[in-house]
C-alpha cells in the first residue's frame, strides 16, 4: 500500500526531475523499481478507496501529498487538484504535491476523458481533504486538551486555547486509519468475458463520503484564483520529464512493424504475416513476432528505427476488409454492429411529416478525424522475471485500462503490474486506449530487458484509433409563422470507442476481447422547442478502429444540426440568432434561459449585424460573412461565432475572428478555463477547415502532417474574443441548481461549435451551403462553382 514507500522516497517530482536523474533516482529508491514485494506476495495491491490514506498523506514537515487516479493532459488538473486540497485542508498551496495516475499509489478513478477532470475527478479529493481536516482537528483536540469547537486552522497549524500544533506534529508520516464511505464504485460498464471486470469497470464517478462538510465556495481563498500552474516552469526550462525521457538501466529500444492495411473489429484473425528477414544485415537487432505482432529491438534507438524499415514482411490481406475509399457511403451501407442490432428510433409528438410545412431536406457528412498527438505514444516497460513483476511507465489517458489490458494480454494478475504515469503529448481522447503499454510489457517479457517502445509518425497517423465520421439525412418543415413544425434526422455512425480489451497489440496478437459501447448515428436537436421529431440512429460496424475524440459526436451533430438550423433560418428569411431565440421557448428546460443569455451576449461581443443570411451579394474578389454555432449542455453552454473572408477565385476560407461566449459552473482556475476556450476554438477551427482522415482501398493514406494538415499559425484568426458568463442563482443559470454538481467542465464543449459557425459564415458570405467538412479551398471552390458564385 502507499504507506510502504515513504512519500519523500518516491515523490514523483523527485524521481522525475531532469536529465539523467531518472536512473539515479531509482537506485536511491531501493525497492522502487523492482516492486515492493511484500511478504503476502501482493506486490502491487489494489488501492482501497475507502481508506483516507489512499487519498492523502502528510509528512512530519507538514508536506501534503494527494493521490488521484486521474491524469493531466495539460489542462491544469494537477494545479486545480492541489488548490482544492490546500483550500479544504487550510495549508499553503506550495506545501501540496499531487501524484497522478500511479496505480500503486492512487485509487482507481477510471479514465481521464469525457470532460470529467473537475466534475468527477475533483470531488473525492475535496471530500478526502475535508475528512482529513476533521480528523486532524480531532487529533489536535486530544493532544492540546482543547475542545474542537475552540480550534481553528491556518497554514497547516491548528490553534486554540492559547496552544497550537502543526499538521506535521499531529500526524507526521503516520497513517490516518480512517475508513470512509465509498460511492460510485460498482462496475460502470460490464465487459462480460473480459477478465477483471470490477477493476476495468471502476466508474469515473468514484467518490468518498466525508463526515465533515466541504467548505462553502463563498469562503474560498484559493479555489477560483488563477494560481500559476505548477507544471509550467519545468515545461519551459526543459526540466520536465515526459514519458519520452524515462530511461532505465539496460533499456533497449523497440519499433513496431505494422500491417499494410487497417482493420477494426475484434475477431479471431489468423496469422497474416510472413517475416522474411532484413533487406540488409542488422547485426544485434532482434525480431519479435507472434501472430500479427511484429517488432524489432535494438540497443540504439536509431538502429531500431532503421531496422524496422529494413524488415521484409509479406502480408495476406484480410479478405473481409471492405473498400474504404468512399468511407461515408461505406458507412451508409454497413450493417449494424452486432451489439446494437436494433436501430434507435425516438419519436416525439406525431413524428415527422413532410407535409407539415415548407420542406427542407439535406444530406450532411463529417469525416473521420485523428486526435493529433504531437508526439506519438510511447511507453517503457520493465519485466522482472524473478519476482514476476511488471512495471510500466506510460502517459496516455487511462492507467487502469493499461494495467487491465496488460494483465489480460499477458495472463498476469493485476497485482503483478504497476502503471506509473507521466505526461506525453495531449491526446484528446485517443489515449482512452493505451496501445503502447501492453505492447512494451509484452516485448520486455520476450527479451528479458526493459523496453522503450515508441510509435513512429506513420504508425500513429494510420493505426491510432480514430474518431469515426458521421453521415446523416436531415429534414424539417417550416410553418408559415417561421417556426419549425417537424424534424427528421437519420444517421449512420459507429459507436466511438472501446475502453478495455481492444488495444492494437491485443488485436495483432489475436486476443482482443473488447466490446463497443454506446450508440451513435443521430441525436435530438438540443434545447430547441421543436415538436414532432423523429430521430433514427444506426450504430454500425466500425470500418476502422474507433475511439472517441474531443466532443465525441458532439462536434459532428452540432455541425449538422446548427448548419441545418441556419438553412431553415435562411428559408424563413429570419436572422440566424433570432431564429434560434424563436425556438428557445421551452421554459421547463433549465438550459433555455442560459441559451438565451448566451445568444444575446454573443450578439453583443461580436457586434453581430441582425439580418437574414446570406449577406447582400457583392462583386469583389473576397466575400465576407458571419455565422454562429450553439451548444447547450449541463456541463457547459457555449456559442461560437466566426467571421470569415472567402476568396472567390481560390475558395480559401480565412477565419478573421472567433467570438466565444460560455457559461459553466464555479471556476476552479479561471486562467485554465480561458486556455481551454482558446485552445478548443483553435482545434475546432482545424476540424472545420483542415482535418480529414483519407482512406485508400483498405488503408488510411493520411500518414503524416502533410497528408493530414492541421491549423498552423498563419491559419489563425486575428483575435479570439471570449466572454465567460458567471452563473448566479438569480438568473436560474446556476449549474449547481440544475445538476447538484458545483462545477461544469469544458475540455470538450470548448471545441464543439466552430465548424458550424464557419460553415454558416461561409454561407452568409457566399450563399453557398457546405454540407461536409473540411472547408478546404478545393471543396469550397467546387461548391461555389457549382452554385455559379465562383
Amino acid at each position: 500500500m502507499t504507506g510502504l514507500l515513504h512519500e519523500q522516497e518516491f515523490s514523483r517530482k523527485t524521481f522525475l526531475r531532469g536529465g539523467g536523474a531518472i536512473i539515479v533516482g531509482f537506485s536511491m529508491l531501493g525497492a522502487g523499481l523492482a516492486g515492493t514485494a511484500r511478504a503476502d506476495g501482493a506486490a502491487f495491491p489494489l488501492v482501497d478507496p475507502s481508506q483516507l490514506d489512499s487519498w492523502l498523506s502528510i509528512d512530519s514537515a507538514g508536506h501534503v501529498t494527494a493521490f488521484t487516479g486521474r491524469v493531466d493532459q495539460g489542462q491544469g488538473k494537477e494545479t486545480a487538484y492541489g488548490m482544492t486540497v490546500a483550500e479544504e485542508l487550510d495549508v499553503p498551496f506550495s506545501s501540496v504535491t499531487v501524484v497522478l495516475g500511479d496505480t500503486l499509489r492512487a485509487p482507481n478513478q477510471g479514465k481521464s476523458t469525457a470532460t470529467n477532470g473537475i466534475t468527477t475527478g475533483l470531488p473525492p479529493l475535496r471530500n478526502a481533504a475535508a475528512q482529513a481536516r476533521q480528523t486532524l482537528l480531532g487529533l489536535a483536540a486530544t493532544q492540546l486538551g482543547v475542545d474542537v469547537s475552540q480550534l481553528s486552522v491556518s497554514n497547516g497549524v491548528v490553534s486554540g486555547g492559547g496552544k497550537s500544533a502543526s499538521y506535521g506534529q499531529l500526524i507526521g508520516g503516520k497513517r490516518f486509519n480512517v475508513t470512509m464511505g465509498v460511492t460510485g464504485s460498482s462496475a460502470g460498464f460490464a465487459d462480460p468475458g473480459f477478465p477483471y471486470p470490477a477493476y476495468s469497470g471502476a466508474t469515473t464517478s468514484l467518490n468518498v463520503v466525508p463526515t465533515a462538510p466541504v467548505k462553502d465556495p463563498a469562503t474560498y481563498k484559493l479555489v477560483g484564483t488563477s494560481v500559476p500552474r505548477v507544471d509550467i516552469p519545468d515545461k519551459v526550462t526543459g526540466k520536465y520529464t515526459y514519458t519520452q525521457n524515462i530511461r532505465l538501466p539496460g533499456m533497449v529500444h523497440a519499433r513496431m512493424v505494422m500491417p499494410p492495411f487497417v482493420a477494426a473489429y475484434p475477431k479471431v484473425v489468423p496469422q497474416l504475416v510472413k517475416v522474411k528477414g532484413f533487406k540488409t544485415p542488422q547485426p544485434g537487432v532482434q525480431i519479435v513476432q507472434k501472430n500479427n505482432f511484429v517488432a524489432v529491438i535494438a540497443t540504439e534507438e536509431y538502429r531500431a528505427i532503421q531496422a524496422a524499415s529494413e524488415l521484409v514482411t509479406e502480408w495476406a490481406a484480410d479478405p473481409a476488409l471492405p473498400n474504404l475509399g468512399n468511407i461515408n457511403d461505406v458507412m451508409r451501407h454497413s450493417p449494424n454492429n452486432v451489439f446494437t442490432p436494433t436501430d434507435s428510433i425516438k419519436v416525439t409528438g406525431s413524428g415527422f411529416s413532410p407535409t407539415a410545412g415548407k420542406l427542407l431536406t439535406a444530406r450532411y457528412d463529417f469525416p473521420h478525424t485523428y486526435a493529433g498527438m504531437i508526439g506519438p505514444p510511447n511507453a517503457v516497460a520493465s519485466w522482472d522475471a524473478n519476482s514476476g513483476l511488471m512495471t510500466i511507465f506510460t502517459g496516455l489517458q487511462n492507467p487502469p485500462q493499461a494495467r487491465a489490458d496488460t494483465a489480460a494480454m499477458l495472463g498476469l494478475p493485476l497485482e503483478k503490474i504497476r502503471v506509473i504515469q507521466s505526461e506525453q503529448a495531449s491526446q484528446f481522447g485517443r489515449g482512452g486506449a493505451d496501445d503502447v503499454a501492453p505492447a512494451a510489457a509484452f516485448l520486455s517479457m520476450q527479451v528479458g530487458k526493459p523496453v522503450r517502445l515508441q510509435w513512429m509518425r506513420h504508425d500513429e497517423h494510420v493505426w491510432a484509433p480514430h474518431m469515426p465520421g458521421m453521415t446523416q439525412n436531415i429534414s424539417a418543415t417550416l410553418g408559415s409563422n417561421g417556426l419549425i413544425t417537424s424534424w427528421y434526422n437519420e444517421g449512420w455512425a459507429p459507436a466511438a470507442g472501446w475502453d478495455i480489451g481492444y488495444t492494437l497489440p491485443q488485436l495483432l496478437l489475436g486476443n482482443a476481447n473488447g466490446l463497443p459501447h454506446g450508440t451513435s448515428g443521430a441525436s435530438t436537436p438540443g434545447s430547441y422547442a421543436i415538436p414532432n421529431q423523429q430521430i433514427v440512429g444506426h450504430t454500425i460496424d466500425p470500418p476502422v478502429r474507433p475511439m472517441y475524440m474531443r466532443t465525441v459526436a458532439g462536434i459532428q451533430n452540432t455541425f449538422i444540426q446548427e448548419s441545418f438550423m441556419d438553412e431553415l433560418a435562411a428559408a424563413a428569411g429570419v436572422d440566424p440568432i433570432q431564429f434560434r431565440l424563436n425556438h428557445l421557448t421551452d421554459q421547463t428546460n433549465v438550459l433555455t434561459p442560459v441559451g438565451v443569455a448566451i445568444l444575446q451576449a454573443a450578439q453583443q461581443l461580436s457586434g453581430w449585424q441582425t439580418r437574414p443570411s446570406p449577406a447582400p451579394r457583392t462583386n469583389g474578389p473576397v466575400l465576407s460573412g458571419r455565422g454562429i454555432g450553439l451548444s447547450l449542455s449541463t456541463s457547459c453552454c457555449i456559442a461560437q461565432i466566426a467571421e470569415v473572408e472567402v476568396t472567390r477565385k481560390t475558395g480559401a476560407v480565412r477565419v478573421k475572428r472567433i467570438s466565444v461566449v460560455a457559461q459553466l459552473g464555479t471556476l476552479v482556475h479561471p486562467d485554465s478555463t480561458m486556455a481551454q476556450l482558446q485552445g478548443g476554438a483553435i482545434m475546432s477551427l482545424s476540424r472545420a477547415i483542415k482535418d480529414e482522415v483519407i482512406f485508400g482501398k483498405n488503408q488510411i493514406t493520411s500518414a503524416d502532417w502533410v497528408t493530414y494538415p492541421i491549423v498552423r499559425f498563419r491559419d489563425l484568426p486575428d483575435t479570439i474574443d471570449i466572454k465567460i458568463l458567471s452563473p448566479t442563482a438569480a438568473d436560474n443559470g446556476s449549474i449547481a441548481k440544475w445538476t447538484k454538481v458545483p462545477n461544469g467542465g469544458l475540455g470538450e464543449p470548448s471545441s464543439i461549435a466552430v465548424p458550424a459557425a464557419v460553415g454558416n459564415a461561409v454561407f452568409d458570405a457566399t450563399g453557398v451551403r457546405l454540407r461536409s467538412t473540411p472547408f478546404n479551398p478545393a471543396r469550397v471552390r467546387a461548391a461555389m462553382k457549382a452554385a455559379g458564385v465562383a
Binding site: 515545461k235 526550462t237 509518425r457 498552423r712 498563419r714
Partner: protein, 170 residues
C-alpha cells in the same frame, strides 16, 4: 557503425558515440539525456525537435550528428546561458531567457510537448528581428505545430519577450 565524435552543446563539449548518420535528436536524447528536443514526427514537419545550430533553428530529427561537428548547439536547457551571453552577464547563475519568463507569465503551455520548438524558433526570430510584427511572428512560427491550441498565447509571449529584450532585458 558507431563512431566517437565531439559535439558542443550548451557551451560544453561532449564526447558521444553514434553512427555518423544518426539524427542529432537521438544523440541529444539518449547520450546527453536532454529533455528539450523531443520526437514529434522524425520528418521535420512539426518542429518539436528544434534546436539552435550556431543560433539558427534546425530540425534535429533529420540533421545527422556528423553535420554539427565544430558548431554550437543550443537546446531549450541552454537558453538562459545564451541570453546571459547576449547580455554580457557571465557571473552568477543565468536567469531565465526573457522568452522563458514570458512563457511563464502568459502561462503558455498546456501539455507543453510542442513548446520546446516554439521557444527555440522564437529565440531564433528575436535574435534577428528586434520588433517583429504580428505577421512576421506568424510566418516565422508557421513551421511549428500545436494541437492544444496555445497559438494565441505563444504570439502574446513572443511580443512580451521582444519588448523586454529590446530594452536589454530590463
Amino acid at each position: 557503425m558507431a563512431s566517437t565524435l565531439k559535439i558542443k552543446v550548451n557551451g560544453l563539449v561532449h564526447s558521444v558515440t553514434a553512427s555518423l548518420d544518426t539524427p542529432l535528436l537521438y544523440v541529444l536524447h539518449n547520450e546527453l539525456h536532454l529533455h528539450g528536443p523531443r520526437f514529434g514526427c522524425g520528418l521535420a514537419q512539426c518542429g518539436a525537435c528544434s534546436v539552435l545550430l550556431d543560433g539558427k533553428e534546425i530540425r534535429s530529427c533529420v540533421t545527422p550528428v556528423a553535420a554539427v561537428s565544430g558548431k554550437q548547439i543550443t537546446t531549450l536547457e541552454g537558453l538562459p546561458a545564451l541570453w546571459a551571453k547576449e547580455r554580457g552577464t557571465t557571473s552568477g547563475l543565468p536567469g531565465l531567457h526573457p522568452l522563458q519568463q514570458a512563457w511563464i507569465d502568459v502561462q503558455v503551455p498546456q501539455c507543453g510537448y510542442c513548446q520546446n520548438g516554439m521557444l527555440i524558433q522564437a529565440a531564433d526570430l528575436l535574435s534577428t528581428t528586434k520588433n517583429p510584427t504580428d505577421e512576421q511572428i506568424r510566418t516565422a512560427m508557421n513551421g511549428h505545430l500545436c494541437r492544444c491550441g496555445t497559438h494565441m498565447r505563444v504570439l502574446e509571449a513572443i511580443k512580451r519577450a521582444a519588448a523586454v529584450m529590446a530594452k536589454g532585458g530590463k
